[in-house]
Symmetry: C2
Subunit: 243 residues, 2 copies
């Protein structure tokens, strides 16, 4: 179907996730409609969709803006993931199909491959502050792989409700993760943690899987919080709002 609203939705989403529409930016219907060459109606639909995803939130004055993710939100979202993904891992131990297990392993393989490429071509990023386009692409790639892993994990649980809820959490974190991954290029630990999760699931050991997920998310949360606090002290951003 050639619906305009889905096109504008995708375009808007891309603008938000790429940072062209910055967090906190007010979304006004008519200018957006002009920008995309459509009327206000599909813009409204698109914004509603984004609101549903958590990428757009209502302002205090009833207006709409790109969601602002605070440090507190990041922590809260990680706690939600902690609860949901432990259940997902336990469910995966019971219900993951062979194909899904294979997908998870593929994901890990891609991760290692991507990591080796980055290590070869770029090396570690401890030297400078600036990030080249190639680095940016590779880091973007890692982010995608990580997201794929967690999405596959959710799907492997065989619980569609869980998938839906986690999807929402991931959407809200997308803004956050976009900025934090650049600050935290050392992801070898992450892949190791993913491997432990997969191993536990393949052994159908739900307790071990839950523990592995818990450890992974607690570690990730710590990494992100550290990165965010570093960001905050570096810039002169007032209060809790980060972006």
């Amino acid at each position: 179907m050639g619906k305009l609203f889905s096109k504008t939705y995708l375009a808007l989403r891309q603008e938000i996730l790429s940072g062209k529409l910055a967090s906190g930016k007010c979304l006004v219907e008519q200018p957006l409609a002009d920008k995309f060459g459509v009327s206000r109606t599909p813009i409204r639909e698109a914004i509603r969709q984004l609101q549903q995803e958590g990428l757009v939130e209502s302002d205090r004055r009833g207006g709409l803006r790109v969601t602002v993710v605070t440090i507190a939100d990041a922590i809260h979202l990680y706690d939600c993931r902690l609860g949901l993904e432990q259940i997902a891992a336990m469910g995966a131990c019971e219900n993951a199909t062979p194909a899904q297990l294979e997908d998870l392993q593929d994901c890990l393989a891609q991760a290692n491959l991507a990591d080796s490429i980055v290590t070869e071509t770029i090396g570690n990023n401890s030297s400078g502050l600036s990030i080249s386009p190639e680095q940016s692409d590779e880091l973007e790639n890692r982010l995608r792989i990580d997201q794929s892993f967690h999405r596959l994990l959710a799907e492997s649980s065989g619980n569609p409700q869980l998938v839906d809820l986690l999807e929402q959490v991931f959407s809200k974190m997308a803004l956050l993760r976009l900025t934090t991954t650049y600050q935290q290029p050392d992801v070898l630990e992450i892949w190791a943690e993913h491997e432990r999760i997969i191993e536990a699931i393949m052994q159908r050991d739900s307790q071990a899987a839950a523990v592995a997920v818990r450890d992974h998310l607690i570690a990730s949360k710590a990494r992100v919080v550290q990165a965010l606090q570093g960001l905050r002290t570096g810039a002169s951003l007032q209060g809790i709002a980060l972006f």
Copy 2:
């Protein structure tokens, strides 16, 4: 603000949650607009809102209908609650305010009060199949109390994201409740389980709280599954109550 869409949203929501708009019923914009005396625009807005809440889902043919909650969904939703509410309880141990603790205790007191009233006026329901209006009201009351408890628990965590996610789960479970009528569950056990949760939280013992929540939800899930299985085998739709 006297926005029409919020009025129609509330009206539609009420119709869905009261069962006047049955699960699976297709939602067509123009008839609904005629029914509520508004144009299609606010109807669309309201439906989008309900879709966001999970009370409306898209049909296979792209149409919209009142969400259909299956038995499998019920089990999956309980698993989601299991994950989220354990986190909520642990959060509550850290962040619950004295006022919130008091509210939780009030909730329990109301539960005991309601229970004694039901016991006095009605007695247990082991005898017959039919349920009087008074019984129905009292069971409705208990359901509200139970929902209040879990809502307060979520809020006590101090995690708004968690509150949002649990709200969605509760909404969908409310739909399931409508597909059947009530059956008197063993409520004394439920209140006792609630009490254990509160005690753990008041002692700020997050591990105990998580265990208490886990035990409670596993028991609740078992109760519901048992009721559902009996419902399937038995000819008469006695129904279930979700606690």
